[in-house]
Amino acid sequence: MARWLARRLLHAVLTVAIAITLAFFLMRLAPGDPLSRLGDERPMPASELAGLRARYGLDQPLLAQYTTFVAAAVGGDFGRSIHYGRPVREIILDRLPASLLLGGGALLLTMLGGALLGALQALRRDSLLDRTAGVVSLAAYATPSFWLGLVLAWLVGIEWRLLPVGGFRDPLLAADASWMLQVADVLRHLALPLLTLTIVSIGAVMRYQRTAMLEALAQPFVAAARARGLSERRIRWRHALRTSLFPIVTLLGLWLPVLAAGSVFVESVFAWPGLGSLAAEAVGTRDYPLLMGVTLLVAVLVVLGGLLADIAYAALDPRVRPA
């Protein structure tokens, strides 16, 4: 087990290394650099641009830029954002809470809600409920998230004035407000983006869960439990559900990148200060250091998610004993 874990960890590190190398060179492949957007609104002489390029090390050969980046990154230094002029680490740490809240919240709601609804569907297999839920969840899955977000913002935020339509918290809430008020404020702002992200992603989990639950119900141990006279309720909700959750656990890891990407749109529609929109913005401004920082973080999260899923799966399911 220890050797298996060590090998897994090594793989994870390798994967992250490959990912950021790929990102580094892809980014440089694109024409334009962080300074090329400058002359847009205001003319700027070429000599001045050259000076600025030198200041940011953008005039170095690609390979030299890469080794500089890697050497610094290994030491935990991701440099300074060219657009914001602040250390990349600070900017990311600023955005991380909002991102974790939205991504984590959506992950939790999607997984719990999806598992529950999918299980219900399986228990009432082929009933009206099952079919309706199936089609509705597929339709939700088929809806572009930004479009749904715009519609929800319009209805809930503007027409009904029930919830705020933008930002992470009320900028005017006094800093000395009680923590209850502060939490409530963040939750109110979280509601619409979270709802949007959950609606568009819950369908997939429901489908997986439905299938897994059906398989679990068909397993011999269910019949055996029935023979032992356990209540149907107990069999369904304790034994079958637990067994059916294994596949969902593995989904957890795969789901992270989907949420990270999906949140790009949701974040921008709701002005949610997360990492997804930060990354999209950094692509637009060619803010290399910032983009590398975000990519690295997302890659680590994704790989970590996969690793945890593997470990959880191995721990839960005795059939998958690692060699």
Binding site: L14, V16, I18, A142, V264
Partner: protein
């Protein structure tokens, strides 16, 4: 034993949802092919003031957009573009994924390790980030480039799927005997292994088309999708985005078109998947 593609299709059509999806899909495809003949892509009107952003009426069942164009005709013409982009891009990524998966699974060893580590690395970056980077680099070749980059970022999952299938099949009797009889690597890969992965591949392809339609819409939302005046559903949503409140029809109808199409694709894909699952041992 695995199932052939035609029998998969038959089985998928046996399910109500599968049938509904297939019929809807067929209707949408027909609409995409035939409608442009009846409703040519409308030209921009010169006096744009009076005809712009008209609400739905008998003349314009879906209303008109900011350049006085009939939204219904745009949706019809956008169908062809959006579907073509999705189908070609998915065909590309499925092919790429199948080849990489076959090679990795068949040769194993160092080849497998290198390929799969690279795939792992690329999969650790969300596809949208990859696309943003690539679209930025490739903008000048118009539609073809967009299709190419969408295809080039979509094959990673497929290659894993095919590889797993190949690993399983490699242990199956008839492949072993083919190898024992001295069949060449290429022959074994393409004559024996590939046909047997077509079932899961067709499911992946079907669902992939839906994903790409959504992806194209997302890129358009960021201003980087199919470029105007070529109509695409994503681009039309972008056109209507800033008048969502005042003229909701501009983005509502292309949005509904996306939902309907992706829904139909997923219904049918789902039925295919179930058919494939019930067919395997």
């Amino acid at each position: 034993m695995n199932v052939s593609a035609p029998s998969l299709l038959r089985r998928a059509m046996g399910v109500a949802n599968g049938r509904a999806g297939a019929v809807a899909l067929l209707a949408i495809a027909l609409f995409a092919l035939a409608a442009p003949l009846a409703l040519p892509d409308p030209a921009i009107q010169f006096d744009i003031v009076d005809g712009a952003l008209l609400p739905p009426s008998v003349m314009h069942p879906f209303g008109t957009d900011h350049l006085s164009r009939d939204v219904l005709s745009r949706v019809a013409n956008g169908a062809r573009i959006s579907l073509a982009v999705a189908v070609i891009a998915v065909a590309l990524s499925i092919t790429l994924g199948a080849v990489v998966g076959l090679v990795a699974g068949f040769f194993g060893g160092a080849v497998d390790t290198i390929l799969m580590r690279a795939v792992d690395g690329a999969m650790a970056i969300p596809r949208l980030f990859l696309l943003l980077l690539l679209v930025a680099a490739w903008d000048r070749l118009p539609l073809a480039a967009l299709i190419l980059v969408i295809g080039a970022t979509g094959w990673l999952g497929t290659s894993r799927l095919v590889r797993a299938e190949v690993l399983r099949l490699r242990e199956v009797e008839f492949i072993r005997s083919a190898q024992a009889l001295g069949a060449g690597a290429r022959r074994v890969m393409f004559r024996h292994l590939l046909p047997n992965t077509l079932g899961p591949l067709s499911v992946a392809a079907m669902l992939g088309v839906g994903d790409v339609i959504l992806l194209e819409a997302g890129l358009s939302f960021l201003g980087l999708g199919v470029r105007p005046p070529t109509p695409s559903w994503g681009g039309m949503i972008l056109d209507g985005k800033d008048v969502l409140q005042a003229a909701p029809w501009v983005s509502l109808f292309p949005g509904l078109a996306i939902v309907a199409t992706v829904l139909a694709i997923n219904l049918f894909g789902e039925a295919l998947r179930r058919a494939a699952d019930s067919g395997s041992p």
